[in-house]
Amino acid sequence: MKAKVFGYLALGFGLLVAALPAPAHHAFSAEFDEKKPVKLSGTVTKIEWQNPHIWFYIDVKDDSGKTTNWGMEMASPNLLIRNGWTRNTLKLGDMVTVDGFQAKNGSNNGNARVVILAPTGQSLFAGSSSGRSQ
C-alpha cells in the first residue's frame, strides 16, 4: 500500500511538473520534447495567424547548403495581441532565430520559446517587448 501511494505521488508530481510548461490548449508533454531543444535560424516562409496556436514556418539552411522547412508553434493570437503583437509583427521573408523544443515524433516541428529578429536582435517575446514598432 505504501508503495502504491508513493507511486501515485511520484507519478502525479512528476507528470504535473512536466505538464506545466503548456500552452493553454494542450499539454506541452503531449507533443514536444523538453530533452530536444532546438536553435534554428532561417527565413520566414509562411505564417498561420490562427487559433488555437499561431504557426510560422522557416527555411533553415544547414552547413552543406541543404534547406529544411521547419514549423514552429507559438501561443494563441489573442495572447500575443495582448502582448503587443499584431498579425504583421512577423513578416514573410523576415530572418529570425528561434529557440524552442522539437516535436516528440521527430518531425521538423517545434514549440517556439524565443523568437529573435536577426537584423536587429530584437526579441519578440522577452519581458515587456511590444513587438516590432511599425
Binding site: H25, E31, N51, W55, L79
Partner: protein, 268 residues
Amino acid sequence: MRSTIQAVVVVVIMFAGQASAQWAKHADKSMPRTPDGKPNLSAPAPKGSDGKVDLSGVWLPDADPDGSPQGVEHMVFPKHFVSITADMKPPDVPIQPWARDLLNQRLQNNGKDDPAAHCKPTGTPAVVSVPVPHKIVQTPQLILILYEEGTVFRQIFLDDRQTVQDPEPRWMGYSKGRWEGDTLVVDTTGFNDQSWLDRAGHPHTEALHVIERYRRRDFGHIDIEVTIDDPKAYTKPITYTQKTTLVPEEDLLEYFCSENEKDVQLFK
C-alpha cells in the same frame, strides 16, 4: 515573495499591449481611479440598481503565486487549473479507486486525450480557472458569464425556475444562482461525464454537483470558492478558491480552437 512578484509581473505583461488589441482603447468613466489616474482596484465593490453587489466586468484567474513563467506565453498557470487537488497531499485526496486509475492513465498519457486539446469545451468548473479572461454580465434575474476560452457562455438563472428532472447532460451544466448577503452562490448540475476537472485529468461522473461562491471583495477582485461534489468519483467534496482580478478596460476576443488545430497529429 520573489515568485509573487514574478506572477504579478507576468499578468501585467500579458495585458501590457493594449494599443494593438482588436478594440480601440475605451476609457471606462465609471472606473474608480487613484489620484494619478490609474484604475483603483482596491476601491469598494460596486452595487447594482437592486442593491446587490455587481460582479460585472472582465476578469482573469490569478496565476499561481508559487509558479514561474513558462513558454512563449510567459504564463504562470493557476494551480487549480493544473490540478483541483493542488492544495492537498496526495494521500489525502479523497478519490475513488477507479477515478484514481483513470487519472493516472491520463497523466501517463501526457494529457493527449484532454478534451480541450481536441477542441472540445473546457467544462465547468475547469473553465473558472482557465488562464484567459471571462466576462460577467449581471442583471437582477440572470447572470451571464462569457468565457473567451472556446467562446462559450454560462447562464445563471436567479428566478424561481426549477431544474428539469433528468436533464440532457451538458459540458457547462445548468446553473441556478442565489444571493447569500454579498455572496453569489451558484449551483450547477446536469453535467455530462466528458470534461476533465483540470489539466491533470481528474475525472467526474454525471452525478457532479458544483457549487461556486462568488465574492467581490473590492472593486478589482472576485474570490470564487469552488466545491466539487461527486460521490461517485470522490469520497468527500473538494473545495478550493480561485482568485480572479479585474482587467480594467479590457474586452473579450473570439477564440475558436477548430480554426487551425494541428497539434493532435503531432502527439506522441
